[in-house]
Each structure stands twice: as structure tokens, then as C-alpha cells.
Symmetry: C2
Subunit: 422 residues, 2 copies
């Protein structure tokens, strides 16, 4: 029997669920794996939570003291934020403890030095819960895809925006009202900025890209766009063309360089991502040795996230040598490829004057920029006239230049809307 | 650096791909994981393969000699069959070597004693490639789902039958002609019996059930049915009702007992399994702590299977303690629940006389057996008249009894067709 004695930092939704789930599953986990898991200390600043669901004597307000306990082998960091968490994880690793964290912002912003420290100290950082909740995408990429020669990882990694887009697709309202509905039902935070801006998804994609390509990608390397500009009209037009709008994160190797971005995208109706609804997440991996593998499931939730935290603890206890797999081994440095050089089809919506010749003017501008149109719908008339196109794939810098030129035409009112097609 | 020296038993499609992929990825795997993988001996009876793609001096016709080499740490069994493979794996474990195998029939029929021996010897058996090719369902279930409290595992685990059913759904022919097409394209064996009978899927479900529920399930415990009785008419009627016919394997905990079966099933069009096409596989796991997680990807293929074999080798070298996770730890014994006691809706097709009163006669027989009808289509007339029903969920023994009674009616010609609804 191996024993893992755990110091829990943070006793919010996830922390309290980790404690409860561990208590419930402890004997089964011991039987199945030979590992006995025990929480020996809990740090929580909010003293009103002390003693709730766990014995009062386990609690302390001093995270440093919990980390320093000689009987703590593994520190579970669930306090959130970047700076405080960095300090706590740094202290834990420096004191020779391994760490489990669900903190994607910590890893995406300052993961590099922590992984280096872990390697130096011969300790592990595991972080399954940081991306896609209970879906074991981190372990699968780090361990099972070791010979897969991955070149592309993409998917839906933010549950809040997927909930909103699913509701908009079902015709339940516009961005603002479906967001409000998501907030009422607990699928969106009171301050949803990080989710709806794409920032949360970008942090997760930085983590996934670092693992897939073995080259460090930080949040600053990821271009992202959110879903707040998506209107019910965009959703409906996309549907007319046979697409579903999703917030898609994508990490690709492009001729030896790395591109990672997050943006709304039109996903064809038959594509596996089109079927991912509500707050579910899904990640697809493509590699020369595996074709395409998809993992999907609940992207968040207290119990689901706890299940991932517990599997990380068992994995730490079961892994042989420090230096092995356990760190996010970025042994090489690849350059970045700007979005401009990517090729993609685009969905474009423009408000136009309702008169003869407008379509030919616009399509000739597209043609001058090497952008050819695959399909087109004209809707409304008079002040409301709109042209909606889907282009053939083109270099993004061509599409951008064509859009600027189209917007400068006298027959086009205001700015256009452009969304990538997956 | 850790070194794994590998003895390869069998140099067919998978064996030669394992060798080639290892050579190609060796330095990257070493950089990423600190594990150096080297094939030091290959056993292959067919001497015409000796020296093809690997140095001639590695080859031998004597598997026992390769296992016995003192420099071999890990034996990769790819010879297939049950008895010979059992002997080879038994010898390897007895000599203190760990084993990687892709042999589902070996594990489903005689896995128990091998897992016991591995435990006794402190060695590992890993078998990712035995179920769903490159899709890492075994590692995910054994390691990531450790706190998930799984109660249901189900999915499409045979690529050949899914290829045939996908082609039938697309209207490309009947069972015999789409099977012939699958054989021409290499998606079905010359002797497809094990695939189309459901036997292959049943062996895989026995393996998955043993891991999910920690209680040994062997092939003999799994009731299975194949797809050879499915007609284009069934596929079309199912489509009319909004369903896709798939060969579904399901393992469930039913009030503390285990039920595992494989049969054709009507899957609703919006269900994730409905979108799994061609030779792809998909497995869904449901547990109290995770809701539902799905993994999907290519179910077979030389390169894909090799990728799984190689990840198993790295996992063996990286795992700390024998006894840990690495064996299929069946620490308890659960009873089996017969299919009869399950509840399920059914699709039922019956050829009937084309005259007044037939429908009321049949529905009254159903009613007498507590089977109520949800929807019904009548097609054709005269000699060709057919009634097609979908029932509400009912105990399977009720459905079976109702069917026997219906078949004995004078107005019903021949036997009826019944297919579970997922």
C-alpha cells in the first residue's frame, strides 16, 4: 500500500467536493489501486467554511503552514488567481511536495518556471482539471499520444460560451438574454468576461498546445476573440448555409511553426463538434499515427472537476521516476506562425444598399484580393438589405484586406462581420 | 534515462508497424519522457518476413528464446489466438517480464489467471490496443476514472460492423453486398465471422466491464447477437422513425449486478453514437462523478494500433509500483443480471396478412404482455404487408413473451424481427 497525504488549499466548490468525493471513494480506490488517500490539512481563509463537511481540526487559515506540514506529500492548489497561486505552488515544489492544480491561468501565464522547478526538484505538477473538467485530455495527450505525432488539436474548451451559443442556435434569444439565462442557471459567472472574451479558452489552448507540440505556449502567444459580437442573425444565416457557430480553440503545427488561436467558427452540421451542446466540452486530436481521436464530456462542475483532481493524485503516487511524463516536457522551442498566414474559408455578412450593381461591385473587390465566393444569400431590402457570403478557403491576410476594401465601398454600410469556417 | 528493451512476438501488420513507428519516434519519445525504447528481438515463424523493415539479426523463429533473452524487459505479444498466446504471456510473466498485448480474445477468455500471475510476480500487463485501436479507453478507465463511480459503459467497439451498417444506412446495398465491399477495401477479414457475429465486440465489452466494475467478466458471460439478420428494410424503417441502427455493446450495473451484452440497436439520430461512421469506434462512460464522457476514433489499423502499443510500453516503464493500476484489478465479485430483467424499448417488424382487424389483434396481444406501442408504420399490401412498431420501454421478458405470442397468430407470417432501442 502506498499512502498519499494531501494538503488542500482552498475549500470552495471544488475543494469541498474533492474532500467529499475522497471520503466516499477512498476504500474503493485503495482496493483498486493500492493507494490510500487522506486529506490531512485544509487551508481556507473564510473561517465560516471551517468544519463544514470536514472535521474542524483539519482547517487552518494559513496555506503556508499546511504546505509546510511534514506529513503532507501532495499539495492540491484550488485557490485560483495567478500571483498567490504561483507563490503557493512554488513553495510546495521547493519543499519537495508534488502539486495538483486546476488553475489554467496560473499554468498558461506562469507555468514555465513552475515546470522547470518541478523537474529540478524531482516532483510532479499534474493539472487534469485545468482543461475540460472531468475529460482526461491532459493525461491522454501526455501519456497515450506519446507516439501519435500530433499536428492539430482543436475543439470546444469553454462551457459557458457553448451554453450561450447552443441556446442561441435553439432560438432562445440573443447574446445578452442567453448570457443572462446562463447566469441564472449557474453556467456563467456574475462577471463572465474571461469566458465570453475567449480568454479562458485561450489559456486552455496554451496548455494543450504546450503538451501537444512540446514547445512552451503562453497565454500571450494566443490570439483570441469572443462571442459577444455574434447576433441571432449570424446564427440563423449560418444555419441556412448548414453550419453551427461554436467558439473553437485550435492549435496547429504549420510547417514546423505553432499557431494557436480562439475564435467563433462555423462548424459544418455533420462535424462532431456541431453535436457538442450545452456546457459540454470536446477536444479533437489529429496526428500522423492516430488519424483523429475525440474526447468529450462535461467541461466543469464541482464533482466532475474533483474527479479529475483525484485521478491526478493517484497518478502522482503511481508514477515511477521524476522527470517522466509528469512534467509538461517542453524540450524544444518552435516559432509561432501568425494567423495571417493560415488558410481558411470565411462567413461574411455586410449591410448594403439595396440597388443593382452592389453584388458585382463587392464580388469584384473580393476577386481582386484572391477571395472567391462559394455561396451567397441576399436578405431583406431597403435599409435592411444584407449580403451574406461563404468564401472558398483563402489566406487570412487576403480575406482581411478584401474586407477592408469592401467596407470602404460607398454601397456598404458600416462594418462587416467575418467569422472563420472550420 | 530509463531504458525499455523490447521483445516483439509476431511481425505481421501491427508488429512491423510497432517496429517502424518506434524507430521513427524513438528520439522524440526519449526527449519527452526520458524513456529510451529499443526492440532487441523479434519472433516470427514466417521467415520470408525476416529482415523486412528491420535488421535480419533481430529475427528468430523461436518466441520462447526471445522471451528468455536476459536483455528483454518487456514482451509485446502480437501473435494472436488464445492458447499459444496464453502460453507465451504466461512464460513472459513467469520470467519476470512485463507484457503488452493487443489480444482481446486472450484477455476476454483467459485474462483472469494472467492478471493474477502478473500481480504475484509484480509485473504489468497492458492492453490498450485490445479495444478501440488508438483510442485510449483502457488507460482512461483504469487511471482517469478511478473516482468516477462508473455505472454504465457502452458504445461501438467493432469497426467492421460499423462500416457495414454505415454503408447500409447510406443506401449502398444489403448486408451481403456491403460486407463484400468492406472486404474489398480491407475493413473486413476474409472470414468475417468473429466481427459480424458480435463475438469480437463481446470480447471487448468483457474487458471494458471488468475494468469498469472491478469484477471479472469473461466472454462466456456476455450475450451477443450480430448484424447478419439486419435488412435494408430495417435500416429504412429505423430511419423513418428517426433512428440509426448500430451494433452496440453495453455494460451496466443493475442494482449491484453486472449486465453485459452486444446487439444491434436503434440509436436516436441526435445521439453521439449515431454520428460515429465508417470503421470508427466510440465508447461512452457514465458515472456519478462525471456525468458522461465519450472517447472516439479509429478502431483499428496497423499504425493506430501500434501507437497504442507504444504508449503502453512507456506507461509500463513509467509506473511505480507493481500492484498499482497496472493490472486489471478485479477485487470483488458481482453477480450477473440476465438480459431478461433489463428494460428497453423495441423496434418490431412483422409480416402480416393485409386485412382488417390484424392491427387490433396484434396490439391486444402486446397489451396482454404489458407492452405498449409508441409508434407504428404499416407498409406494403397483400403478400408484402408489414407492420413496424416502436414500443415504449418494457422488461425484456415481456417483449420476448409478446413476440412469441404475436408469431403464433394466424395473421402473422413467419418470424418477427426485434431490435433494441438505445
Amino acid at each position: 500500500m502506498e499512502r498519499a497525504r494531501i494538503g488542500l488549499l482552498g475549500y470552495g466548490t471544488v475543494g469541498s467536493n474533492v474532500y467529499r468525493l475522497l471520503e466516499r471513494e477512498r476504500s474503493q480506490i485503495l482496493e483498486a489501486t493500492g493507494v490510500d488517500l487522506e486529506v490531512v490539512g485544509i487551508a481556507e481563509l473564510n473561517t465560516s467554511k471551517h468544519g463544514v463537511g470536514a472535521p474542524r481540526e483539519l482547517f487552518s487559515t494559513d496555506a503556508g503552514a499546511v504546505i509546510a506540514r511534514p506529513d503532507v506529500d501532495i499539495v492540491v492548489e484550488l485557490v485560483g488567481g495567478v500571483e498567490t497561486a504561483f507563490m503557493l505552488v512554488h513553495t510546495a515544489l521547493s519543499s519537495g511536495k508534488s502539486v495538483v492544480t486546476a488553475n489554467k491561468q496560473l499554468l498558461a501565464n506562469r507555468g514555465g518556471p513552475l515546470f522547470e522547478l518541478a523537474k529540478e526538484k524531482g516532483r510532479q505538477i499534474r493539472f487534469e482539471a485545468s482543461v475540460a473538467g472531468a475529460v482526461p485530455i491532459i493525461k491522454v495527450m501526455r501519456e497515450s499520444m506519446i507516439a501519435a505525432d500530433l499536428h492539430t488539436v482543436y475543439g470546444i474548451v469553454n462551457g459557458t460560451t457553448n451554453y450561450i451559443l447552443t441556446a442561441m442556435y435553439a432560438g432562445e434569444g440573443d447574446y445578452a438574454s442567453t448570457l443572462a439565462q446562463a447566469q441564472r442557471l449557474g453556467y456563467a459567472e456574475a462577471d463572465p468576461t474571461d469566458d465570453v472574451s475567449g480568454g479562458d479558452a485561450a489559456a486552455k489552448m496554451a496548455i494543450l498546445a504546450s503538451i501537444a507540440f512540446k514547445s512552451r505556449v503562453t497565454l500571450a502567444d494566443v490570439r483570441y476573440e469572443g462571442i459577444d459580437r455574434i447576433t441571432p442573425a449570424d446564427v440563423q444565416y449560418a444555419k441556412d448555409f448548414g453550419y453551427v457557430i461554436k467558439l473553437v480553440g485550435a492549435a496547429r503545427l504549420v510547417e514546423g511553426r505553432v499557431n494557436v488561436h480562439v475564435s467563433p467558427a462555423l462548424v459544418p452540421e455533420g462535424h462532431p463538434l456541431a453535436a457538442i451542446s450545452g456546457s459540454y466540452n470536446a477536444v479533437l486530436m489529429q496526428g500522423h499515427s492516430i488519424d483523429e481521436i475525440m474526447l468529450s464530456g462535461p467541461g466543469a462542475g464541482g464533482v466532475q472537476t474533483s474527479s479529475a483532481v483525484i485521478s491526478d493524485i493517484v497518478s502522482i503516487v503511481s508514477t515511477k521516476t521524476a522527470g517522466f511524463l509528469q512534467n509538461c516536457s517542453c524540450y524544444r522551442h518552435l516559432d509561432f506562425c501568425p494567423d495571417d498566414e493560415l488558410e481558411s474559408a470565411f462567413f461574411i455578412r455586410a449591410q448594403v444598399e439595396d440597388r443593382a450593381g452592389v453584388l458585382s461591385q463587392i464580388s469584384s473587390v473580393f476577386g481582386e484580393h484572391d477571395v472567391s465566393i462559394e455561396s451567397m444569400i441576399q436578405k431583406g431590402h431597403g435599409e435592411q438589405a444584407e449580403l451574406v457570403f461563404v468564401t472558398h478557403p483563402t489566406k487570412e491576410h487576403n480575406a482581411t484586406a478584401a474586407l477592408r476594401a469592401v467596407e470602404s465601398l460607398a454601397c456598404v454600410r458600416g462594418s462587416t462581420m467575418a467569422i472563420r469556417v472550420l
